[in-house]
Every structure is written in C-alpha cells, then in structure tokens.
C-alpha cells in the first residue's frame, strides 16, 4: 500500500515537472520562434552559408540548454521521491 502511494506521488511530481517544462516550451514558441522565423528565412534565401552555421548553432545551443533544464527537472523529481 505504502509502495503504491509512493509511486503515485512520484508520478504526480513527474506530471508537475512536465507542466513546468510545457510552460517554458510554450513561452519559447511564442517569444523566440515567432521573431526568429522571418530572420532565419531571410538568411536561408540570401546567405546560405550563414544560414547553415546559424542552424547548427541554434540546435546545439538549444540541445545544451534543454539538457540542463531537463536534468534539473529530473533531479527535482528524485529529490521529492526521497
């Protein structure tokens, strides 16, 4: 019984962290991607080499930032479980 309630609690905290993550992501969509779209399209049409470099830099930076964010969120979940 205690084990079930512990699993339910950890699943609940995981869902909370997922909601926090979703809020971050939606803010990102509307604040960053909205403004980025036209500039990136301009680079794609006019300066293809710069576009290639910017595209790679964007995905690498996002990868590192989201890795840090998800690691922090998962650590929070584990701390709550303990």
């Amino acid at each position: 019984m205690a084990r079930i309630s512990k699993e339910t609690a950890s699943f609940g905290s995981f869902l909370i962290e997922l909601v926090v993550y979703a809020v971050f992501v939606f803010a990102y969509f509307f604040l960053v991607l909205h403004f980025l779209g036209h500039w990136v399209k301009h680079l794609f049409d006019q300066y293809r080499t710069a576009y290639a470099a910017v595209a790679l830099a964007l995905i690498v930076v996002q990868g590192i930032v989201l890795e840090m964010l998800t690691t922090a969120l998962l650590k929070l979940i584990r701390r709550r479980e303990e």
């Binding site: 993550y21 990102y28 779209g37 995905i59 690498v60 998800t70």
Partner: protein
C-alpha cells in the same frame, strides 16, 4: 504554425509529441529515431529533401541530451565513437550527393521513400529473427543456472560468430577497445561499418542508428548497452556535419527541428534512464515493431497520396 523555409503548415503540438515519442525511443534504443521522424514529417506534407535534412538537425539537439545521460551510465566508448566519426562523415557526404543527383531528376520523393521502406522492413525482420533465436539460446543455457547470477548488462547473440570472425580479421592497423570488451579489431572494419551507416544517414536522413546500432552489436561485437551509448555519442558529431552540409544544400528547415527537439529533450532523458532496467536481448526485441511503424506510415502516404494533416 507556418514554417516559411519548407513552405509547410504543421501543428507545433504534433511536432512536439512526435519529438517526445522519438526522444524516448532514441534514448532507449540509441537511435536518432529517423525511422519514425522521417515518415512522421513526410506524412504531414514536408517535402522529402527537407525531411532528410531537418531530421538530421533535430537529431543533433536530441543526441546531446541522450549521449550525456549514457556517458553518466558508463555506456559510451569514446575511442570507438571518435574512430567511427571519420567513416560516418565520408558516408554522409556520399549519401547527400546521391540526394542531390535525385533532386536533379525530380524523383527524390519516390526513390527515398521506397528505399526507406525496404531498409526498415529488412532491419526489423533481421533483428526480430536474431533476438528470437538469442532468447531461445539463453533459455536453454540458463536451464541449470541460478537467476541471481545473471546481470542486466550481460549480452548474448545467436550470431556471435559473425563478430568473432570480424574481430579475427588481421587487417592492420589493429586497435583495442577495452570499454567495449574487444581486445583487438581492425581499424578498417570499424571505418567500413561507420561509412555504410553514414551513407544511409546522408541518403535517408537521421543518424541511421537503425543501421549502425545493429551493426555495432552484430558485426563488431560491441555489447548492446555500449552500442546504444556510443552510437548516440557518434551521432552528435556526424549529424552536426550532416546538418551543416544539408543546410548548405537548402534541405533543412531549422524551425521545424527546433520545435520537434523541445519534445525530444525530455523524452531522451526518460528513454536513456530506462535502459538500466532491461537486458540487451530485450532492448533489441522491443526495437522490432518500430521500423515497421515507420514503414507503414510511408506506405500509407505513397499508396493514398494523402498526408496526415
């Protein structure tokens, strides 16, 4: 949401969910997930040349997350990964050149889609057969042994003789891979495996982990857990190169990749953590239906001509 570069209109929620599912699968199986991401993008009307390049870009971001997680779990053979990068980059360039040739002949969609289906069904059938054979072999071997003696990362394969033969080839220079439990192996065999994976990556998109991960296990004899982690590490470097070269050729819609990656980032963490709880044979067996799902999506789009808007 309008994606101006590829001229498509796709729901960001759809892209995030696809990214999340692919993230879990990628973290668990050590594959980029292009066997699902490619068909999922094609199914909502993204042109095939953009599918190939965009998928590679999304894989760069996602693999950073999963590779770091696997490194913490001790599943990455960095020496093997760095050697493989050389062969993979040469292969990616070959694959990207094939795509360019097909673009000139205006039949890139049909050729890539049909090739994708053949490769996916072939891999699924092979891994299914091998894992089933290995499971039978393990059951027979275990008959008299205590279950407590078994370890999660212990690996077995019904076709282990292939890896033994490859490791026995004496083609200098020879290298040792202690992290993978390989005493001596020819550098050329590693480069050939990586080159073939790279050609698939450049031609069909993604990191081609669906080819490279099984090849690491069956051809080179790397334990499944290490194959998963090393493949992801290697994919970070080779997919970065692939993204750049495809972006130069106008095949990358980076905004689609960024949106997909937001879902994939959290999925990859979950998937990588899950590998601790499964035997190598079970990981491979669970992999079997996934390429078939991707193949079914492509066949649906090809036969009906409809896209899942």
């Amino acid at each position: 949401m309008d994606f101006l570069i590829s001229g498509t209109h796709i729901s960001p929620i759809y892209l995030m969910v696809v990214g999340f599912v692919i993230g879990i699968l990628g973290g668990f199986f050590g594959v980029g997930g292009s066997f699902l991401a490619g068909p999922a993008l094609f199914a909502v009307g993204v042109p095939m040349n953009f599918v190939v390049g965009t998928d590679l870009a999304h894989i760069v971001g996602k693999s950073i997350v999963a590779a770091k997680r696997h490194r913490m779990l001790g599943n990455v053979d960095i020496k093997l990964g760095l050697i493989m990068v050389i062969g993979t980059i040469l292969g990616v360039e070959t694959g990207a050149q094939i795509i360019q040739q097909l673009k000139r002949h205006r039949n890139v969609d049909a050729v890539v889609a049909v090739a994708f289906v053949i490769v996916l069904v072939g891999i699924s059938a092979f891994i299914g057969w091998e894992s089933w054979q290995t499971s039978k072999m393990r059951k027979t071997e275990r008959a008299g042994k205590s279950p407590s003696k078994r370890k999660l990362k212990q690996d077995a394969s019904a076709i282990a003789y292939v890896a033994k033969y490859v490791q026995g080839l004496h083609l200098p220079p020879m290298v040792s891979l202690p992290n993978s439990g390989i005493a001596r192996i020819s550098l050329w065999t590693i480069l050939v495996v990586a080159y073939v994976g790279g050609v698939f990556s450049g031609f069909l998109g993604g990191g081609a982990g669906y080819v490279r991960m099984p090849a690491l296990v069956y051809v080179l004899g790397v334990p499944t857990h290490v194959a998963v982690g090393t493949d992801l590490f290697e994919v970070v470097i080779s997919a970065s190169y692939g993204t750049f070269t495809h972006a130069l050729k106008g095949n990358v819609d980076i905004l689609i990749a960024l949106v997909m990656h937001t879902g994939a980032a959290i999925g990859a963490q979950i998937g990588a953590t899950l590998t601790q709880y499964f035997h190598g044979t079970r990981i491979r067996l669970a992999f079997v239906p996934l390429p078939l799902l991707g193949a079914a999506l492509i066949v649906y789009s090809l036969i009906t001509g409809h896209h899942l808007k």
